[in-house]
Symmetry: C3
Subunit: 345 residues, 3 copies
Amino acid sequence: MYLQDSWYVAAWANEIADKPLGRIILGEPIVLLRDPNGVPHALEDRCCHRKVRLSGGKVIGDRLQCPYHGLEYNFDGACVRVPGQSRVPPAATIRKYAVVERWQLIWIWMGDPDKADETSIPNWWQMDHPEWRVPKGNLLHVSCNYELLIDNLLDLSHVTYVHASSIGTQEVGDVAASVSKISDGVRSTRWIFCCPPAPFHTKVAGITSPIDRWQISDAVVPCFVLLDLGAAPAGTGAEQGDRSKALEFRVFNAAVPETESTTHYFFAHARRFQLENPVVDKIFANDFVNVFLEDKAMLDEQQRMMDLDPGEFRIDINADAAGLQFRRLLKRRIESAPERTSVNS
Amino acid sequence: MYLQDSWYVAAWANEIADKPLGRIILGEPIVLLRDPNGVPHALEDRCCHRKVRLSGGKVIGDRLQCPYHGLEYNFDGACVRVPGQSRVPPAATIRKYAVVERWQLIWIWMGDPDKADETSIPNWWQMDHPEWRVPKGNLLHVSCNYELLIDNLLDLSHVTYVHASSIGTQEVGDVAASVSKISDGVRSTRWIFCCPPAPFHTKVAGITSPIDRWQISDAVVPCFVLLDLGAAPAGTGAEQGDRSKALEFRVFNAAVPETESTTHYFFAHARRFQLENPVVDKIFANDFVNVFLEDKAMLDEQQRMMDLDPGEFRIDINADAAGLQFRRLLKRRIESAPERTSVNS
Amino acid sequence: MYLQDSWYVAAWANEIADKPLGRIILGEPIVLLRDPNGVPHALEDRCCHRKVRLSGGKVIGDRLQCPYHGLEYNFDGACVRVPGQSRVPPAATIRKYAVVERWQLIWIWMGDPDKADETSIPNWWQMDHPEWRVPKGNLLHVSCNYELLIDNLLDLSHVTYVHASSIGTQEVGDVAASVSKISDGVRSTRWIFCCPPAPFHTKVAGITSPIDRWQISDAVVPCFVLLDLGAAPAGTGAEQGDRSKALEFRVFNAAVPETESTTHYFFAHARRFQLENPVVDKIFANDFVNVFLEDKAMLDEQQRMMDLDPGEFRIDINADAAGLQFRRLLKRRIESAPERTSVNS
């Protein structure tokens, strides 16, 4: 079950160029393309005639042509040409999705396009702001249900064990996080005072003295998590709001369901320090992908083990509070959604 | 559901030589072999004892020996020796199939062998005629239901889109085909007058002037399609029957179900021009395999997309008329077939 | 269905060293490890919190640490530390299994640990005896139900056909075996008098004259088969008990179910001749693995063919008597077992 009436991330903006891009989202095959003016569009990636993927076809002017029998669709999803006949059957349509290009991403509204409201797209302004640096956007395919990935981002105690060689230290796992409600979501907050730096802090900024460190995860329905992460020299007032001496960055995460057991994981890092340093760019662009691959390994395995033994988790611990609260919120939203009306029938 | 009481193609004749050949047809494991006189036989490819494939065993004189415990079968499917015991259980039999070697192919009757009637094997006489040239027979494994392949062969409008670099031109897709009934099947006929040649025509015969072109597909239940294809200089009377100036060839197609979602695709080209030209031989032997691989890619994908969204097609177009008529005919034949009696019980 | 209250083989003793070893047995994920004193332990290989495998974690003193969130378990399966909180939920436990290290193997009791009785471990004393030589233990993964493997070991007539190049001769298949009851199992006995030696006998001992040869298979529930195999110069009284001139060896086999259709196959050879000959060591260590790979090929295929056509075997032959008797015995044992009570709930 998914929340249909919502924005999701469909692609990085630069993934769609000359050729259509096919991607399955919430179990639905979707073709993403740009018209001759560069405006992105999203349609059902399945010809209404014999079901082949239109993403294998061509954009010809303001039409998308099926690669099998040449049926042509306009970007509202109406078939406007059937080779060899003059009349086009009125039912020859495919589903159209509302899309918006923003924050270097293509956002897609998976419900009724008429309800699509751009103002409900998460405000990830740092992705496009000159005072923040985003080396590149990433996309991993993770073989787990998307809620497992959100759990992972709402309980960062795991960095102690999964990421010990980069961002983990013993203190992260030992200090409890607090949970609070935010608009459409849940926040998990952890502050660790006067603790040793992690290998990452030493590598990017030569830090060896004690730091005050924070991890603030804001998860917003259905699948977005904004991480506010940072470290400052111990006692310099970061918790009170003075981040002037801090290494501060954000991680933008979208855990987009491909199917019930696979997820498109979009993420990018925006930092507010050493903006022009190419060495630090590389650390964020490369090292952090390896960190996220450590998460992927754990998540893939978690799904495999759940498939072996379906059913609820057996034991919840304190660190699960944020994740459980988010799951309940998402479940309520899905259950209270108006029943979906089929667009094509 | 398959039409059991019918001939199918089991193999190219040259596929069966020294060793038995195992192949699944209509979901049934079948072992094909030649006896010491070279006569082909087909038996159930599963020992009645412990189910291993007999195609892994040996032909010893007039017997086939199981590779596991050495049980020996005669070519009527009766077990005639069980090592270590003198008595052979009377129920120790495997199914025998009627086979005929003809037109360079091994034909198998998948129903009751007593009903097998050689006269109902399709008459593909050009496969063995000195005025026609057949460079080689081909076999592709296609991951789709066999009816999708027959649809493909009955609606050649797709050559415009799928085979644009070889045999497709815009005109093929734009000109409608007519449909007529033939014995046990359906014919689709398309004539295109005074149109540009396709890249293929230029390549094999240097043609650059306008041509009259025809595509006549004869599909016969359950899975055979004979294509009569050709091109002649425009206005030289090919449609009226004068093919003396034409490049004319046939394609023999058998779409043999392996399972409900996989197909053994046997095909060969017989041409009536430039019989001794090895360059043209190569074009038919190699280039056309690539053309058929383009079909395979489309068919594999069609099946994948249908698995994602089971159910009927949503929109039929005019070009589907022949395929739909054939599907109805085949369905009637299957439904009106006498109920199959188990041969082994 | 498995016999739960029984010993199985979990691993070769030398498979468990510094790091935990994960293995699925009877469908249950199990982690095997040694404590700092070298004592082996077996626990459920699934954290009670979020289900990841503990075999990916670390042994830290007398605890096993989960690789995801750092939960720590003692070797009785009780969670004794949850990072970030002082109280450990009492239900935070995983299943503990009784294990014993014996005969170079780790034995595991898959039922209630309180019922584990070491005296019921098969007495494979030759594995550890100076008068017998065991070059190395082997483990193959076979894609079949474990009963097919036991059938294979109880009916050695197959060596004539499957192992013709090594240990098979025509006589083995042609001479019937006799079947008798033993404690908790079934014995199949075959004596072949004054027959030609197999290639193996010539290779290890230069034998070219006729031999008396025996194959005695003792299968014991649920999955153990001890083979007593040998050959002596014809007429030297081996059948009457004089094995002084014989080439005599044992094969210890454990067909441990991984799942209903896959098996961990543990086996080792112990011989009582040419103990110090490294050439003979190699024959047993290498050549016999190839022999067992021939069995594996046949067993994997048998399972595939049974999956294609589920249901009982159709024809039983005399040589199946021992296997069928063993299957009936095992079925009775499983059906008469007390209902299993869940250990964790």
